[in-house]
């Protein structure tokens, strides 16, 4: 691959391209390494990691909806120790930056995990998940109150030597206020969007399909909301934005860049097609070539610039 036109630098990270799998949609990388070499990716973003192992919610945890899916995984993960001792060491053998998505229920928990990851030297960046809609008190309050968020980011930044991206929930009245709060707290970047809160009811059982009742809506259907939020936030903050939500093609990726994103994440599309990320990388590079664009900086935010 020679997608030189896709190189980006963001919060001190040098990425060969701006495309990375979204947290929770790529496990800890191992599963998709069977399909293609992970070093093709801009970075690998791993599943939300918490201090202690979490089983997550009862099943069913996933269901399809028109042009999307609902999930209520509930931050299932093997816990920080296992991640540090097994998953990250395996991933770190690949020539690709690692971003660890971190979740917690208290400021203290967040800080402990961030410190652990940061100190391990196994990752290149932290993504602070303050937006999981599927866990009671699972960080969601951090994701809806600007002051609470700003405080959390400040504390986390103190214990981290790695750049910290704050991943925002779209389920708020003002995404701009949340992004500004994260920036004020010292965030190195903003990731958005996490899932919209949704529900599906099974007409046969007459109950919500998901055991958790509500779940996070992701996939092609949410892209317009995501593009709007990136566009809005890009004009309100100066730190880089990682955009996501329904990216399925290279053109989708380019649309996020034009809205103001520096990099993009691909979530649900991996499930539809395990080769989604490499395909999107190729298509983005092709778009650049076809349109005589040498560098993503030349089109970043052009929709509002």
């Amino acid at each position: 691959m020679s997608e030189g036109n896709l190189r980006v630098c963001m919060a001190g990270l040098e990425l060969r391209n701006p495309v990375m799998p979204a947290s929770g949609c790529f496990g800890f990388g191992k599963e998709y390494a069977k399909y293609y070499p992970l070093d093709q990716l801009g970075a690998v973003v791993v599943k939300a990691t918490t201090l202690k192992p979490r089983f997550g919610n009862a099943t069913p945890r996933v269901t399809e909806v028109r042009s999307g899916m609902l999930n209520a995984i509930g931050l299932a993960n093997p816990g920080m120790d296992q991640v540090l001792n097994h998953d990250l060491p395996w991933l770190a053998k690949h020539d690709v930056p690692i971003i660890v998505n971190v979740a917690g229920q208290t400021e203290d928990e967040y800080c402990q995990v961030v410190a652990g990851i940061s100190d391990s030297g196994l990752a290149q960046a932290i993504e602070l998940n303050v937006s999981c809609p599927n866990v009671k008190c699972g960080g969601i309050s951090f994701g809806v109150d600007p002051q609470v968020l700003s405080n959390l980011v400040e504390k986390v930044k103190r214990v981290s030597t790695l750049p910290v991206f704050v991943k925002l929930s779209p389920n708020v009245t003002s995404i701009r206020d949340m992004a500004v709060a994260a920036e004020q707290g010292g965030a190195d970047g903003i990731s958005l969007i996490n899932t919209l809160i949704g529900m599906k009811i099974d007409l046969t059982t007459r109950r919500p399909v998901l055991a958790n009742k509500i779940g996070g809506l992701s996939g092609p259907g949410i892209k317009p909301v995501a593009i709007r939020m990136v566009y809005e936030v890009a004009q309100a903050v100066t730190i880089p934005i990682i955009g996501m939500g329904g990216i399925y093609t290279g053109e989708d990726g380019i649309e996020f860049i034009m809205a103001g994103a520096t990099a993009v994440m691909v979530g649900t599309a991996n499930f539809t097609d395990p080769y989604a990320c490499p395909t999107i990388i190729k298509e983005m590079s092709q778009f650049m070539e076809d349109n005589g664009i040498a560098n993503l900086n030349d089109i970043r935010g052009c929709a509002y610039a």
Binding site: G24, G27, P53, T59, R61, V62, I73, A76, F271, T272
Partner: protein, 254 residues
């Protein structure tokens, strides 16, 4: 990978048999594994549908699925025609262990029965002694009985007694056990309630059991943690799509 539909037919009013040919690692298939099928080409159905491998024909490089139409995805699948392309991933998951020269009981229920055909074929080649109990709702739901009959001793049960023994498979198993018969291995696939009941029936016996589980899946490859079940002994989750769908029955909470 893209394969080509080679055969598609009804085997009962709402159950279909579909075969495909084309480049696929047929030789890697283990009984109990599944393929994950893309439904349509647009964005209406973004999650693949898992369907067990019912039979693989190594010689003719041909794979057969048997599925029940229960919703949009399986309906779409039933609408494929010979020559149509199909986008599939597989073989996925961990299948049944294939033992040699043992006495074996295979128990299947409803749409859990298809993968047991491939299982029985593989076990049959390894000089095992195979006994099968296959449960259906009605006579009309039965499929592939002739095929199964070639691989061992088959007992059919139907809930309404329209064919074979009346009642559930567990009723028949109870009677069989009462004769003092003992099996070294039991393989089973079917509704959760059936698997649970069977394990209860065999608790405390020397029979080593394997069950194949189902759960709604998103990725099918172990990446999303959507399809977990909990293990009996530890707190950690097992992913049905990659750690399973087949598990030793002592390892999972049913």
């Amino acid at each position: 990978m893209i394969v080509r539909v080679d055969k598609i037919m009804h085997v009962s009013p709402d159950i279909w048999e579909l075969s495909f040919v084309g480049s696929f690692p047929y030789e890697q298939v283990n009984a109990g594994q599944f393929v994950n099928i893309r439904i349509g080409t647009g964005y209406d159905h973004i999650l693949r549908r898992p369907i067990s491998i019912a039979a693989v024909d190594q010689e003719n490089k041909r794979l057969t699925l048997v599925f029940r139409v229960v919703g949009d995805g399986t309906k779409w699948l039933s609408g494929r025609r010979v020559g149509d392309d199909l986008d599939i991933l597989g073989p996925l998951g961990t299948g049944f262990p294939i033992v040699q020269g043992k006495s074996i009981l295979i128990v299947g229920g409803g749409i859990g029965i298809p993968p047991l055909y491939q299982l029985a074929s593989e076990l049959n080649e390894k000089s095992n002694n195979i006994q099968m109990v296959l449960g259906f709702r009605h006579q009309a739901d039965c499929f592939w009985l002739d095929r199964f009959n070639q691989l061992g001793e088959v007992t059919i049960t139907t809930e309404d007694g329209s064919l074979g023994q009346a009642g559930y498979v567990t009723d028949t198993l109870g009677k069989m056990k009462a004769t003092g018969k003992v099996w070294q291995y039991l393989y089973s696939c079917g509704p959760m309630a059936m698997l649970r009941a069977i394990r209860e029936q065999f608790r405390g016996t020397s029979t080593q059991g394997y069950v194949s589980l189902e759960e709604k899946m998103a990725c099918g490859v172990g990446a999303c943690y959507g399809c977990v079940c909990s293990s009996e002994n530890q707190q950690s989750a097992k992913r049905i799509c990659i750690d399973g769908p087949v598990f030793p029955w002592q390892e999972v909470a049913l």
